[in-house]
């Protein structure tokens, strides 16, 4: 077979590029529609059954039924907004960590940030005997930040490779899981129940103030990552190539690690341990749009938000009126989904 390309092939391949662009944009639109549909379904789900038009009016406090206004504004909307913001943050952080660490398995839970938060919470509940409120959140936040500092210290002082950082994360996760188990061993029944409930994850306990702080952090991450979208593309072509394109790779890695760890720890400390969203969301988007971060970043934000919202919806409606723990649901559904993506990707290669 010769390698001569006919003019018609040129036209075909030019169309291929356009097709690829259109497919990527169409997928982002599809994710947006899916997110909006999920929001509507989440608004409807629950024991208080109301027509959609009343629900939408209820968002703005304009429903004729005062109870609808109350349920929507104080109960369902904060829950939905928390799921969207937390899912978006976890999805985007996973996408960026995978890019800067050159590792498709990187996420907040792989690096030990989530486990740091759990350890912090366990320490607060069992050792300090805290029962709830801001205290546990602050300690879990401190735990995850401590892990982030250790990982950053290793990467900066010891200058270990990106793969080394992930391995260090695995070691730290293992150590913290062991430490959390030890703390649990000495806990009394009430403390143990409190800790188990915390690790289940709960989207319903966030108030508007907490949600606002979380939203600001996620928004900062989205803006920063969007501005640096071509830097991540350059990194995919190797660190040497990225440096030769004028990118300060060390600074970029450090800044992204700090922002991603801060965002993840803030989310985990508010809503508990939620695995797999950061791992699965970027992989789903990548399968359709490829590795171009121009599409991958907004895609991961939308996919993360949609996945967590759908997970929460499932947790709420599966055995109504009982609300299942979201952390368990995301792990239970996210694990098989990740395995499916893994094997599908393997077959394609």
């Amino acid at each position: 077979m010769n390698s001569v390309r006919l003019p018609s092939e040129n036209k075909h391949d030019l169309t291929d590029y356009r097709k690829n662009q259109i497919r990527s944009i169409a997928f982002l639109i599809l994710l947006t529609v899916l997110l909006l549909v999920s929001v509507l379904l989440s608004l409807r789900a629950g024991s208080y059954n109301t027509p959609v038009s009343e629900l939408i009016k209820g968002i703005f406090g304009k429903s004729a039924d005062k109870k609808v206004n109350l349920v929507i504004r104080n109960n369902r909307m904060p829950r939905i907004c928390t799921a969207i913001v937390a899912g978006a943050g976890l999805g985007l952080a996973g996408c960026i960590l995978q890019a800067i660490l050159h590792n498709p398995l990187a996420s907040a839970s792989t690096l030990g940030v989530s486990q740091g938060a759990t350890f912090g919470a366990a320490f607060a509940i069992v050792t300090l005997n805290l029962t709830g409120g801001v205290g546990i959140s602050l300690w879990s936040f401190a735990g995850s930040i401590a892990v982030a500092v250790v990982i950053l210290g290793l990467s900066r002082l010891k200058q270990i490779s990106a793969e080394g950082i992930v391995l260090a994360g695995v070691a730290i996760s293992s150590m913290l899981t062991g430490a959390t188990t030890l703390i649990q061993y000495f806990a009394n029944e009430i403390q143990l129940a409190n800790l188990v409930f915390w690790t289940f994850g709960d989207l319903g306990s966030t108030d508007w103030n907490e949600l606002r702080n979380m939203s600001v952090m996620v928004l900062i991450l989205i803006v920063y990552c969007t501005l640096h979208r071509w830097d991540y593309n350059a990194l995919l072509n190797g660190e040497e190539t990225a440096v030769s394109l004028g990118i300060n790779v060390q600074q970029l890695t450090l800044t992204n690690m700090v922002l991603c760890c801060l965002t993840c720890s803030m989310i985990v400390s508010r809503v508990g341990l939620i695995n797999f969203i950061g791992l699965v969301a970027p992989h789903i988007v990548r399968m359709v749009v490829g590795n171009n971060h121009v599409y991958l970043i907004p895609g991961s934000v939308l996919a993360g938000a949609t996945l967590l919202l759908l997970g929460d919806l499932f947790a709420r409606v599966a055995i109504m009126p009982i609300i299942l723990p979201i952390g368990a649901i995301t792990s239970f559904l996210g694990g098989p989904l990740f395995l499916y993506l893994l094997f599908k990707g393997g077959r394609q290669r």
């Binding site: 590029y17 040497e240 190539t241 440096v243 004028g246």
Partner: protein, 251 residues
């Protein structure tokens, strides 16, 4: 003009890799860096691009000291093609577009798109524009990397073993493209290469390294039985075949 003065480098806690490297190069010339494995050829290339930071010396490109510049400023003057060719799921167009990253502010301009189009046209990559990089052959991927480097509009092009994983057709094609650009457009290029016959065929200048030092530099006449013996520890001779110089290594 390129003027490299007393560049030295050693790895952390290790022995010195490069010792007082000096050489000059005129605009439009194509230089081959030659020498045994581990002699510091790739290290020298990376020092010139400041991927590795040389401990001493100066590197003047048209009178400007590159070693004092930021990564961003260097990227607007020097392009680098690594020997590790990326294999990612990005379209050819997007990878070539990366060459405009050093000039990018908020987004790419119409001019950036035009330059990228020209670079792809030059390497006949338009038919592959919409393909993902990981769907291409090794030779095609190397041409994409070259197009990306050309889209940077550099004064100096650095190539680290660009033909190491290519078949003979693609080896000749890639080096011919670089030589033609050097001769026609005044781009200066430096290539690290192992194949002496390819170097003799396409390059104008030669820099031979031995134990981290410059053993010899100049035109093709620096390659002699004596240098083959001293640099590569092989017995060989330089033959004249139909007007072209060729290295023949004896058993």
């Amino acid at each position: 003009m390129i003027d490299v003065r007393n560049i030295s480098y050693h790895y952390h806690g290790g022995q010195e890799v490069l010792k007082n490297i000096n050489f000059t190069l005129e605009r439009g010339q194509f230089l081959a860096i030659l020498g045994n494995n581990g002699v510091g050829k790739s290290t020298l290339l990376k020092c010139l691009n400041r991927i590795l930071k040389a401990e001493s010396g100066a590197f003047l490109l048209d009178g400007e000291n590159i070693l004092k510049m930021s990564n961003h400023e260097i990227a607007q003057r020097i392009a680098f093609v690594s020997q590790n060719v990326a294999n990612t799921q990005m379209t050819v167009h997007d990878v070539v577009m990366l060459g405009r990253r050093p000039y990018m502010k908020w987004g790419f301009t119409e001019e950036d798109h035009k330059i990228v189009h020209d670079a792809m046209h030059r390497l006949n990559l338009e038919p592959l524009r919409g393909r993902f990089l990981n769907q291409l052959s090794g030779g095609e991927r190397q041409k994409v990397m070259l197009a990306r480097a050309l889209a940077q509009q550099p004064k100096l092009l650095l190539l680290d073993e660009p033909t190491s994983s290519l078949d003979i057709h693609n080896q000749y094609q890639v080096l011919k493209i670089v030589r033609d650009i050097c001769h026609n457009d005044g781009l200066t290029a430096i290539v690290v290469i192992h194949d002496l016959n390819l170097a003799l065929r396409f390059c104008d200048r030669f820099l031979l390294l031995r134990r981290g030092e410059v053993y010899a530099q100049g035109d093709y006449s620096v390659l002699s039985p004596e240098t083959l013996k001293n640099v590569y520890q092989v017995d060989g001779k330089i033959l004249d075949v139909e007007g072209r110089k060729m290295v023949f290594v004896e058993e």
